[in-house]
């Protein structure tokens, strides 16, 4: 026995001499990670992705990506004898005749919804805390790309079973491709291998869904994680936390235990949901037949905002050039708008860096209130997105609320320009209010609700000083200086180079930081502390003068 152990030990050390894994592992396993529940949002996405890979492989064993028409004779009687594509028949087969197949399908699909939702919630955390700032811009771009690619991947998966609901979705996408000016029709024919629906699309989509996109995603996920490791994790402000340290726990064993545990929580919740709640009941939708459609045809929620955009654009926005019709009403909401939205999303760190002119590295997170314009832009974007998602479900909302869906569409058309700016203004004000409150807290402490009368008759309220943790958090605020526009000419009358651009930047800088409430200076804090001290002395005086029953403390 001991011999085996000894030999094994030798073998390991021999291997280690060639590939120094243990020292590498030692250094990395002890790496310190800061701790906060919101740092686990990305993990939800990661674990859902792993669940997708595992269940996806199981599905590939039985799924037949073929559009050849076959009559169905499986065990789901209501479709017995109905002609359908092999793809749909095999998805039914997975649902009803493969052991655990339906459960795996439902886990796969619920995990896909989790994957997308978790990525988006994770992105909110990154955005509102400014974690995308230098040096993490690239990781933001990778993250945003994963959302975009995840969207395509989800759509592809949703379309594979070739049921009535997904077929309608594919038809819409075919229409969007056709709407591209000049090349649209050719491109559509190229992708579908001829007329819609043809017989090539599902096999092609299958390669895309199980090979190409998961491969790309896996590479991006890997890169994302490596970069997190390399940059080290950001941390929230607090006592002892600076831009140059990391306060937390070592990766091993604390984080590995936590993360491992959390994987099983995510897995457990997904399986639980998948075993009690139906998702995508393809058998109830029936096979895709181009002349059929069901009321309430919807995409999965993550495509909903695109559908909402399509539904909001008034029909008939078209131009005819040399006998060719360009359908702006499809091309713009279907491709141009998502293109613009994703460009803004991926480019945001660079836009903000340009405005601030900030080239420093940031490892300490912002509190959302301390970046009011950014926070307000984020809430504005969420409002915009939310309205589109709602409009994507306008018929279902109409059915549930009895509000005619034409009204909902009009509400969207107006609301999409009215509500996001309102949300912007409200959020910004709210943030500035919180900043002002922070300043007061720091200078005067917290109002205790106790009023004190001084010997000469003056009333003052007693303020209790805030804790050191609170102080450190509030003091973490970095006042970003507003960039001033340079004078048009210098003292020698020479025109300032790049005047226009610099003026524009000054304007944006004012827009971002002009209204910020300045953090109190050390001198101000000192002065305030002194004042508070006096206040405190009064209290003590009064108490000793008045004897045991605190007569000077008034409550009425």
């Amino acid at each position: 026995m001991s011999l085996i152990v000894k030999e094994a030990g030798k073998a390991i050390s021999r291997a280690d001499e060639r590939a120094p894994i243990s020292s590498l592992a030692k250094a990395n396993l002890r790496k310190i990670f800061p701790d906060h529940w919101s740092f686990m949002l990305g993990e939800i996405a990661l674990y859902s992705f792993i669940i997708l890979l595992l269940t996806g492989v199981y599905l590939t064993i039985w799924f037949k990506p073929s559009m050849i028409e076959v009559p169905y004779h499986g065990s789901y009687a209501p479709l017995d004898g109905i002609p359908m594509s092999e793809a749909y028949a095999s998805a039914l087969n997975i649902s009803f005749d493969v052991r655990g197949g339906l459960l795996i399908r439902q886990i796969h699909h619920w995990a896909a919804l989790f994957f997308m939702a978790a990525m988006i919630v994770h992105m909110f955390r990154i955005f509102f805390t400014g974690a995308f700032r230098k040096p993490r811009e690239l990781n933001w771009v990778i993250g945003g790309s994963m959302i975009m690619i995840g969207l395509l991947e989800g759509f592809a998966g949703y379309s594979l079973p070739d049921d009535l609901l997904s077929g309608v979705g594919v038809r819409i996408v075919a229409g969007i491709i056709e709407s591209i000016p000049v090349v649209g029709t050719y491109l559509m024919f190229f992708i579908f291998g001829g007329q819609f629906p043809g017989s090539d699309f599902i096999p092609r989509l299958y390669t895309f869904h199980v090979l190409l996109v998961p491969g790309i995603l896996l590479a991006l996920v890997g890169l994302h994680l490596v970069l997190i490791f390399y940059h080290k994790h950001t941390q929230y402000p607090g006592p002892g936390r600076t831009n140059t340290n990391v306060v937390g726990y070592p990766l091993f064993p604390v984080y590995t235990a936590k993360a491992g545990g959390f994987f099983f929580v995510v897995f457990g919740v997904t399986v639980l949901i998948a075993s009690i709640v139906t998702i995508n009941p393809i058998w109830a939708y029936g096979p895709y037949v181009p002349d059929q459609v069901t009321a309430g045809s919807q995409p999965d929620w993550y495509i909903g905002f695109l559908d909402g955009m399509l539904r909001a654009i008034p029909p008939g926005w078209e131009t005819v050039i040399w006998g060719h019709t360009i359908s702006w009403n499809i091309f713009v909401p279907g491709l141009v708008m998502p293109g613009v939205l994703f460009t803004l999303l991926l480019g945001y760190p660079f836009i903000e860096a340009w405005v601030t002119g900030d080239t420093r590295e940031h490892h300490l997170l912002d509190r959302p209130r301390n970046a009011p314009t950014r926070t307000a832009l984020g809430v504005m974007a969420i409002t915009f997105y939310g309205i589109l998602v709602l409009n994507g479900a306008n018929d279902i909302i109409a059915q549930m609320t009895s509000i005619p869906f034409n009204y909902i569409t009009w509400f969207t058309r107006v609301g999409i320009v009215v509500f996001p700016p309102l949300a912007f203004v409200a959020t910004r004000r709210f943030c500035l209010g919180l900043q002002r409150r922070d300043r007061d807290l720091l200078l005067h402490g917290r109002e205790s609700g106790q009023v004190l009368r001084l010997p000469h008759g003056e009333f003052i309220e007693i303020h209790t000083p805030i804790s050191d943790t609170e102080k450190a958090v509030i003091l973490s605020k970095v006042d970003v200086p507003v960039i001033e526009a340079p004078p048009a000419t210098d003292e020698n009358g020479v025109v300032t180079p790049g005047l226009k651009g610099r003026r524009r930047r000054a304007k944006w800088s004012r827009f971002y930081f002009g209204d910020n409430v300045a953090k109190p200076s050390a001198a101000e804090i000192e002065a305030a502390a002194h004042h508070a001290h006096e206040e405190h002395d009064h209290e003590v005086e009064e108490l000793t003068e008045g004897g045991k029953d605190i007569p000077a403390r008034l409550t009425d």
Partner: protein, 261 residues
Amino acid sequence: MTSTSVRRHRATGLVVLLAALVATGVGYAAVTDSAQAAPPQASETQVQQGRQLFLEGCATCHGLAAQGTDSGPGLIGVGAASVDFQVTTGRMPLSAPAVQAPRKTPQYTPEQVTALAAYVASLGAGPAIPSDSDLSTTDANLAEGGELFRTNCAQCHNFAGKGGALSDGKYAPTLMNATPREMVEAMLTGPQNMPNFPNATLPLEKKQAIVKYITDNLQNAAAPGGLALGSYGPVTEGVFIWTAGIGALLLAAVWIGAKVR
């Protein structure tokens, strides 16, 4: 109050609720059974009785001779099936002008409905009330019914018969409450925004297949996947993941995040 008495109290409420539900169910079953009974053959006295009922309850909108007015269409030639459908589903008499006459509790007894139908049928030929044998689905093919349903009905009534919104506040109602007779009558007469499917284009056997699909597969839907979330499609699934799903995981994250402090 102690905690046990609170619990007992709640349980009492539950029992009462259950009893009430059972009572409603039994009562409802009795009502629908009588509605499904075959209408007796129309006689002259029935027509007379129907005319009387019509003058009292319908003529204000449909005109004294059912010729139609500004507040209601003419009924000459709509047939007994149309009257039977409109009155047994409670749509007629219309109580208030609305975008669409809603289904509500019927206001007439089955005999009175037969009389009204006999009267309107006597004014001009139209689809008759389907007989019991017309409604038999024993020979009908379920899968064919499903195919016909998806081709002809799902675009308005949704794949699971849960209904759907039409433009300007109009809607295709859920099919969960309709009886086989009402289904066939609806297809024969095409109420309001529903197209009609005369026997010439959709033969009776095909109608029976559709009825079988609705009654056997939609009204009594098996749920192999678990809770169906109303069978409204991906919207309710999305709502579920963003509330219960993400909610549960956020709670777990906060809990674990707080653990190692």
